[in-house]
Symmetry: C2
Subunit: 128 residues, 2 copies
DNA sequence: CAATCATATACCCTTGACAGTATATACTAA
DNA sequence: TTAGTATATACTGTCAAGGGTATATGATTG
C-alpha cells in the first residue's frame, strides 16, 4: 500500500485511535465501539475502509468479527506509533488512555471468562 | 499543531512532495511549481493550506515568496521523512527524484547568478 | 504614472468523505 | 424454523476539499 493511503487513515482521529489499539492486539468490533464510544455503523465503516486498503485484517469468530493489524504491520505505521507513544501532545495522551482502557477490558474479559462483557460496557453482547 | 493536521497534509501526494522539498531548504513558489509541474493556482493554494496550519512559513523577497518549513520542524514530520528517505516505495522514489531535480536547479541558479532561471524551466520568471 | 511579474484570492463547480437511518447478512441457539 | 445477536451494506443527505477561471494584490521597472 502507498504511504499516501496510510496517511489518509492516520488523518482521522478515530482511525488513528483504532489503529493504535489494534497495534497492541486484536479486538472485536463491539469492544472497539465501546472503547471509542462510537455508533456501530460508524465503526463498521471505518474498519471496512481500512480493510479495503489492506491495513487491517478481519477474522470471524462466531458472530463476532475480530480485527487486527495486517501482519507484518506497515513499517511506516510502526514508525509513527513509536513516535506518538513518546509524544506529549493531547492526541498522544488519548492514545495512551485508550491503551489503558483496553488493558482494563482485557483483564475483565479474562476474569469473567466472558468474551464480550456486557456488565462493564454498554454493549449488549452476551456470553457465548 | 495536532498530529491529525500533519497527517492530512501528508495524505496528498503533492503536499508530501512539497514538504519533502522544503525539508531540504527554502524554495520560491515558481520553483516549486516547475519541480512538481502543477499550475500556479494549485501550488499557491496548497502552500496556503499548509501555512494555515503552521507547518510552513513564507517570506517575501521582492516579487517572490520564499517558502520554508517552520523552524523547528515538527518532529513527527522529521520522523516520517527519515523513514521515507530509506523506503523503496514508488512514492519514496519520487521524493528522491524530486530531490535530485532540486539539486540540479540549485546549481543552475548558482552558476547563472540568476534567482529564477527561465532557461531551464518552463516558468516565465525573469532575472531580477 | 503604466506595465509587468510573482503570487494570492474569490468564485463556481465537481467530487468524495462522512453521518444517520434503515435494512441485509451471517451466525447461533432454541 | 424462528428469534436474536453481531456486523455489514445500501441509501440519502450534507459538507468540505480540490480543481479551474478569472481577478486582485503587492512589488518592480521604465
Amino acid at each position: 500500500m502507498e504511504a499516501t493511503e496510510l496517511y489518509k487513515c492516520l488523518a482521522d482521529p478515530y482511525r488513528l485511535r483504532i489503529l493504535s489499539l489494534l497495534d497492541q492486539g486484536p479486538l472485536c468490533v463491539c469492544h472497539l465501539q465501546d472503547l471509542l464510544a462510537v455508533p456501530q455503523v460508524k465503526m463498521s465503516k471505518q474498519l471496512a475502509s481500512m480493510k479495503a486498503v489492506g491495513l487491517i485484517h478481519a477474522e470471524r469468530s462466531g458472530t463476532w468479527m475480530i480485527y487486527s493489524l495486517k501482519n507484518p504491520a506497515h513499517p511506516l505505521l510502526q514508525h509513527n506509533f513509536e513516535y506518538l507513544r513518546t509524544s506529549a501532545s493531547p492526541e498522544a495522551e488519548r492514545l495512551r488512555s485508550d491503551s489503558q482502557q483496553r488493558a482494563q477490558l482485557l483483564t475483565q474479559i479474562e476474569k469473567e471468562q466472558n468474551p464480550c462483557p456486557a456488565e462493564i460496557y454498554a454493549c449488549t453482547c452476551e456470553a457465548k
